[in-house]
Subunit: 93 residues, 2 copies
DNA sequence: ACAATAGGCAAGTGGACACTTGCATGTCAA
DNA sequence: TTGACATGCAAGTGTCCACTTGCCTATTGT
């Protein structure tokens, strides 16, 4: 899961899905190219989406020849619990 | 920063410092070896600590020939803000 | 049916990274 | 001062990973 977040392109994809959920592969490619001048190929983005789906951060829904990608932030919450919560008694420091 | 979290050994180091803050390199090595049967060498752990210090997750304090390592969770908080907060209006879903 | 669109599969390549190895520096106790 | 302890530096190595390349499958519209 953390490895999935290690790549800057994948983080941008998550940003993109945060802003506009349920996009197709082509939409994501187009918007990343426009916003960040990211010249990532379609296959590269597709592989990133596979990684994100494997760790549960992205869920997909097929509809005909379209595949919509949805964000799922649930896997992120254990991060907070793991290191932020155990020290929550020291927030005034 | 996310790359620093991508390595499982580094995450275990953070766990270790969460449980017991301000350990030296040798302490961390010993405790990791005992707890997780991690046969990581001293140099490997040292390099991991360098990475964690570079991204600000660990801060160090020198005292004679000892170097104490302290956890700093501040760099983790933007993670929450970035993807969890923008969707906080949908928690009942 | 056929062309166009949306996406998938898989092998190959270059670079980054975790780890080792070997030696060097600095600190403390006798 | 000398030896033991705690840590630092740097080059070399093997593996993993992001990306490309080339071709394939499936769905839609005419």
């Amino acid at each position: 899961m953390f490895k999935a977040l290690a790549d800057p392109t994948r983080r941008k994809i998550l940003d993109e899905l945060t802003e506009r959920d349920g996009q197709t592969l082509f939409e994501i490619c187009a918007r990343l190219a426009m916003k960040y001048q990211l010249a990532s190929s379609r296959q590269a983005i597709s592989q990133h989406l596979d990684v994100l789906e494997d760790v549960g951060l992205v869920e997909t829904r097929r509809e005909g020849r379209y595949k919509f990608h949805h964000l799922n932030t649930a896997p992120l919450e254990p991060i907070v619990e793991r290191w932020l919560k155990p020290r929550s008694g020291r927030e005034s420091e």
